[in-house]
Symmetry: D2
Subunit: 331 residues, 4 copies
């Protein structure tokens, strides 16, 4: 039996100590700790990890962290929405997003050519320049072949990018496939459409990509889910797990409620009725804004795993190297 | 200047009187009334209406109402997630969903072969029988041609269905295209994949379907949005409007919050910064469970429009007929 | 076993038919139906009903409905916050609240002397005039005695009011005590303080009022709870039930989530662990804005109860009269 | 103009570095940073700080942190609900609360004598022992005088407690008044009632306590608000500020939404229309579970203030001492 323990500040405390202090604090802090432990366990168990997120998190500034997660070997499969691809490419191209305000005059912003995403702003020019990048990329792909599965496209694009903070860059170099079940639902889709106008034999094969996600893990693999936010990203990863016998470990982080019967709000508990996650799996559902909850939980998990030697180097591009320099700090 | 007016029950009051009574009650009731007025205006203005919803609403029992909405000419374009297609077909095939409980023992349900969606239950058999229906449908399509845009598939399936409560049935007969930007993200996707295994030249062309949604309205059309819930359904319709100059009328109904910068929670206000909806558009965002808010608002809008003669017959299959018998009841 | 049934609009449908149509629609609609059935059962069982609400609902325009509920004998005990008292008195005095907008320029409103409550506006003058009414009321009370329990004060004020739409008016005339555990937390508290400055022997005895709520029902009474929103109103009624052996019936309606461990979000399920409501009680928790969910559920319950003769006249002021004219409409 | 900056993990990073890393991440992380800056500014400006919280946060394990906050001079006035008093006393008496689960069998818990608060459990015995402590405390008070303002009671109790992690203990020793506008709404209220049964001349004077909170700051004081959660605690502090000319700095942290017009969900923006906070004040509203958001923000603020020498010693009990040992760690 575990007891609540009063949290106390200690001057100069580490992020790890902060997370440990919160681990015995009730309500969502306890759930956050359960998420940390589930992530640690799935990694130690050698699980194939499906990592999913929505595009607004790429906008938000978690992108570099996601890239780092791929690079540390914490994600084996990525599923996201196409906006999460677009903005990763835009940032790799030097675009900067502005910190703004939820309470803005949206009509005035529109007149200035500024688009609001919550409390962030994106300039029209960023989208205009995106157009200039994507066209040539698609041409290169077309020269190789005419029919492409979605994840193949993103792997190629990842190889064209040169930015260590890019998710696509890290995914391509770490052999992590990136799936996106609604590839046309964004500016990228518009550019695909424009390209197909001129090249009618250019085909994006989404059905083929379904077989790709289905076969990227097997029934025998230990499987883990880390789902940030809801949307088809979450559902698609869960579906791939379900068709492979269900996940052994699952962490859902969301602001959505379970009370409306939506996929976004569906809990790890509900998932068990479907066999989406196994009956005896370790699972945690954390309610809260991912821009806060995920970094705290994941940093704690990384500290633990690093200390215990589970963030060892992966073979990348034929060259074995340590991703993280070992220090001697203690938590 | 409008004032709050105390609501009072009147024995035997009509749904219309109930909605009118709530129209001067503050907080979300006021927003519901704004949604009603926006829907009425968009219809009177002859707008092309994008109607979007998520799959759980089809599960819930709003499906027959959505079919009726299509049949009364209130929706010109539909965008949904693939689960909303699957369950429409399942119900047209006689499947019944069980009213259950949010607080269920999910492990026990799993052992009984029951899948939980919020407070509803779906039996495994329903999915098994779905498999038996979809296979033959895909064969018929394949015999016609090899490369299909998504909305073409759903139109054909709609014509194969015989159920007035089916959304696909009504959509096909009323020339309302049904878009689904992530067609593989569900059981239907699995069957597409199985079919393609045996028929490698079978192609689902999502890029072509993007041009279909883009050209199903024009810049010159008056455009309206009725978006229930979030997800790619909402985003895809908004994107199609944006690329056609923005919507003139918009109603969003959701439980998601704007505070996390997600598309699901994005308000009609935020949409103005993007030009997704026009600066001077009529727009309303209603927060609440769509299974309650939408029927109340839409029934009120239908009563008003019917009384003013705006639910007149549409030409369907060459046969002109009145969809609704006119009565003489007064609200 | 109950099944989901597709909802359909019928021209001129009654509020009762609307609610019945929604009763087989999943997610919160199902829970709303459970609330209706629980309210009907508690009334038929002759339960003493604790009815609780927060002040913003009085602001909103549900006030007249609450007064009507008291008058139809649906509430035996009221618990609210002091703002819900103040605005009931203000409206009885002719004050009007303005329908405004959530997206307002609050600094500009401030300069105009307008206070915002969500999407409603209250003018400074309304509060100024409230001051002129309360002073003389307190003087009258003081002349009778020096030490007052809170509910005694509100009963006296109720008798001074002449407005059938007033909750205090109806409560006083129907012998329904009105409790308010934080009586100083508002403009009324300020006026109590001002009055006590001049009359130091004037005492508001909150401890005495705790015995009043404790003894207004007994262990043997069948007890019901209808709690709208959270706050101390909800908690105080639950506490009074708990100390009397727990409630037999309970309906909670709220927008708060259970995930933060707050009283506002606490479910009827959690209440069972405490014995706040009995293990085998009928109970329903509805998530949604009370300005929409409560009128729909309560109107449906009233229609059912009226039809079955359970809204019969109460003896009031020595005069027996029918509260509701019976009609012959059918639902 | 500030730009989004990608967050990155650094092995062994401090809590301060974590918070700094999140400060340029969009959505609620940005708002958290605004809260940090507002807290830092209010302290540097020498503001009198109203610190409010609800009882579940005391249950949760934030209690020791709140005590520490009082001890570091970060709070000048406390407002809370009575449960937050009770559980502080219970913990000072050695009671332990159990870390449990949101998904519990509440009927089974009830049979075991366990009460659930979200994902925490409290045993019946803890409440039984509380009874044994409170009785003697009230007797001591009664011997001193018969008529007590609420905050006077809590000061006396604080002086009877010997636990550095107790909020009441620290408040009494640091001359921080603790207000509680609904003192009877809990087990403590029940014990007050029992005591008054035997001592009818024992009076708890809530009106007097309203004058106490009103005069504990002045119009001329710089005033700050840190409101955790909603409820009357939040409202009462805001009211006291309003009657003193409005707050100069305000931080609200809550899970409640502004869309239902409730006090709990009311934003710092809305507060400006009332003059509750000044037009040009620094203000931040953070949406999320306080058990996560508050420690992260406050630890960051404390680190900054400590480094800049603003957490200097307060004169306490005639003895001047440093509350925090200075270290040499850098953030």
């Amino acid at each position: 039996m575990e007891y609540v323990r009063d949290f106390r500040w200690k001057k100069g405390m580490s992020a790890c100590e902060l997370a440990q202090g919160l681990s015995k604090v009730g309500f969502q802090s306890v759930e956050l700790e359960r998420a940390v432990q589930t992530i640690v366990k799935m990694k130690k168990a050698g699980a194939k990890v499906f990592f999913t997120y929505t595009s607004n998190m790429v906008t938000s500034g978690l992108r570099g962290f996601f890239a780092q997660i791929v690079d540390t070997g914490m994600a084996d499969v990525i599923v996201t929405t196409v906006g999460g691809i677009e903005e990763d490419i835009m940032k790799a191209n030097g675009e900067k997003f502005i910190i703004g305000d939820f309470n803005s005059n949206d009509v005035a912003l529109h007149e200035e050519g500024i688009n609001r995403v919550g409390n962030l702003f994106i300039r029209n020019e960023s989208y205009a320049r995106f157009e200039d990048i994507v066209g040539p990329m698609l041409k290169k792909l077309y020269l190789k072949k005419k029919r492409w599965a979605v994840s193949e496209i993103f792997r190629e694009i990842g190889l064209m990018i040169d930015d260590e903070n890019s998710i696509l860059y890290q995914a391509a170099r770490n052999d992590v496939p990136v799936f996106c079940p609604a590839v046309t639902d964004g500016a990228f889709g518009f550019h695909l459409f424009m390209f197909q106008q001129d090249h009618p034999d250019f085909v994006v094969d989404v059905v083929k990509d379904f077989s790709n996600i289905l076969f990227c893990v097997s029934h025998d693999d230990v499987k883990g889910l880390i789902c940030l936010g809801g949307s088809i990203s979450k559902h698609h990863a869960i579906l791939a797990c379900l068709l492979n016998g269900g996940a052994d470990y699952a962490v859902y982080m969301t602001t959505a409620r379970h009370t409306s019967g939506s996929m976004s709000g569906a809990t790890t508990q509900e998932a068990k009725s479907w066999g989406k996650i196994k009956d005896d799996s370790d699972a945690a559902t954390v309610i809260g804004d991912v821009s806060i909850t995920f970094p705290i939980a994941m940093v704690h998990a990384l500290e633990i795993l690093e200390k215990e030697g589970f963030l060892s180097a992966k073979k990348r591009n034929g060259k074995k190297e340590d991703k993280l320099v070992r220090g001697d700090k203690k938590c």
